[in-house]
Symmetry: C2
Subunit: 335 residues, 2 copies
DNA sequence: AAGATCGGTTGTATCGATAAAAAGCTGCCA
DNA sequence: TGGCAGCTTTTTATCGATACAACCGATCTT
């Protein structure tokens, strides 16, 4: 495999000149440049990225830690982040944390190995108590919930506002007993708790009392668990005419459980989700949901990270970005 | 940031000894090892991966080129590959090719930059004509269709056999006019053509004539296109009582189109897909499908690649692995 | 015409880790 | 006691690219 030295020899110049050509530095005579380019082509030269990284102290790669790329929301997010990173000239290496706290912490320390120039971390297992783990000397952006006010940039969903809007939408369509299907509410600032808060706010705003019976907490935010828990509630005779699901994935489990119980959507119960994953538009019935503009969030996260990487220092104060959202009304709420 | 030299100085040994400790070489006196480990901890030392890569000529990272991680099948595959790679001590960097031929070729050349130790390439845009592009001097594994008999290892789905089984399943359930919803059949050995062949074999095997009318070719294998084309066929009055969809994603579009037309599944038309993505079990009706054991295919692909990486040479002849499959019968075929 | 300026190019040192070979240090045996 | 084997550690060179400073020749200035 040809090195920069080989090219230099072939072109009759020094390695440094070849380097200058490669990196588009000015002050290289066109004739020289052409000679070098010709030699590069002739020898089929490729830069050795490892050597460049060592010298530059950069890797050109950022890490992305998500629970699993297979989950619809994170797949969508990962796709958007890889695309956004590409626009910033960065590659993305994915760590799957399985939503486990230890694996999220491990991802943090991997990026300290200078494996990555920076890390976009989707915190799902870590909590507010782990804030000090973020006190690291390299760029990190938190994407998601569970840790607020940390020492790093943060891109978050409009959880409360969007949840309030989604719930209000159900109320406006005439629902009076709106259930919430979420994950465990353990007091952390997690997805479920934040969206629960929005849900409550909508109820209060409409002058309705919140009935704890209507809050269905699943073990995890999967189709299986959502379906299982809702089936249980239905079997227990829960009276409800609307469901706000904290994610579209949860909503799919809910729709399935309702179908199993012979409950028609939206005639008997209206359902709305959160995320607007691709499948939602094609379900039967199609799913009303909240669209949080994944592309914009991804772009912001990458931009924030790239800025830190470029400044290569602690930079100015941390930034918090909360994305916009859009209500998408479809059949499941009678849209 | 501490270097190996700093650690060496702190522990009163040479850098080489520190290196030996890091890499678990034998013949380091326990007392020395402890001193080194202590120094490493004290200085919060992290190896510089770039330096190691340069010296070793390895990066510890493999590339994975897929159309988009967001698509259910590729998301599933990517998750399995990242997990399998982890077991082999490799990290995965993802390239999204958008199913574009040029981007797939670009991924091939990126891996030549020694950015990756090897590449797992899901060929969707490239075709048999691009075989010679695979004549590269570094490890590549093709995962999928469209290129067979190339100079590299190949992991493929049991396309024909599984498609035949799926179609036969419909016939066994009493269907007599089974439609196929696929992508363009342009003569390449692509997903659609291979599965089309399996479909035909099942018909022939059952002594049925193949009616070209029943082959619905969508522009692309998306929910949108599948739904659009099937709606067209239904509007044209196509007579059919079963549908074999080349992917579960296509099946979701089909189910939606059937629902729009007021056609009941499975009472009037039975539907089966291919891939067994997570959502399939929760659709209403739940989707019968072919489960190709993604995990096994991912493991094989990574194992083949890792073996080439370790041998660091051309190695023995190329290998072709075709995974097993399993029919999953659910409501959409009256299961 | 001497000196300053500037574009173009090159030599040298370096990024941090590791392979290979050389060198110390034991202890053991003749 | 000399020498050898074997474990342990160090020395030296190197992976390939690039920052930096020095350098050279030509043009410009006054």
């Amino acid at each position: 495999m040809a090195t920069i030295q080989d090219v230099a020899k072939a072109a009759g110049v020094s390695a440094m000149t070849v380097s200058n050509v490669i990196n588009g530095h000015p002050n290289v005579r066109p004739a020289t440049r052409d000679r070098v380019l010709a030699a590069m082509t002739r020898l089929d030269y490729r830069v050795n990225v490892a050597a460049r990284n060592l010298r530059k102290g950069r890797t050109g790669t950022i890490g992305l830690a998500v629970p699993e790329v297979n989950r619809p929301y994170y797949g969508r997010l990962a796709a958007a982040i890889i695309a956004a990173a590409g626009r910033h000239g960065l590659r993305v290496s994915i760590e799957q944390t399985g939503a486990r706290r230890e694996d999220e912490l491990a991802a943090l320390s991997l990026s300290r190995n200078r494996l990555y120039d920076g890390l976009i971390l989707c915190t799902v297992g870590m909590g507010q108590a782990d804030v000090e783990a973020l006190e690291v000397d390299h760029p990190v952006v938190i994407l998601g919930e569970r840790i607020f006010g940390g020492p790093v940039d943060h891109v978050a969903m409009p959880n409360e506002a969007a949840s309030e809007a989604a719930t209000r939408h159900l109320l406006e369509r005439g629902c009076r007993r709106v259930a919430l299907v979420c994950g465990r509410l353990d007091g952390e600032v997690d997805v479920s708790s934040l969206r629960h808060a929005g849900y409550l706010r909508a109820l209060t705003g409409a002058g309705l009392a919140a009935d704890p019976e209507l809050v269905v907490t699943a073990e995890s935010l999967t189709m299986r668990e959502a379906a299982r828990h809702l089936r249980g509630k239905v079997a227990d005779g829960l009276d409800f005419d609307g469901v706000f699901c904290v994610t579209d994935t949860v909503a799919m489990g809910v729709l399935r459980a309702l179908a199993d119980a012979g409950i028609r959507v939206p005639e008997q119960v209206r359902v709305i989700g959160f995320d607007n994953v691709d499948e939602s538009a094609y379900l039967v019935p199609s799913l009303s949901t909240v669209d949080p503009d994944h592309d914009l969030m991804a772009e912001r996260a990458v931009a924030l990270l790239a800025a830190r990487v470029d400044r290569a220092g602690p930079g100015p104060g941390r930034e918090e970005f909360v994305g916009p959202f859009r209500l998408v009304v479809r059949e499941s709420t009678g849209g």
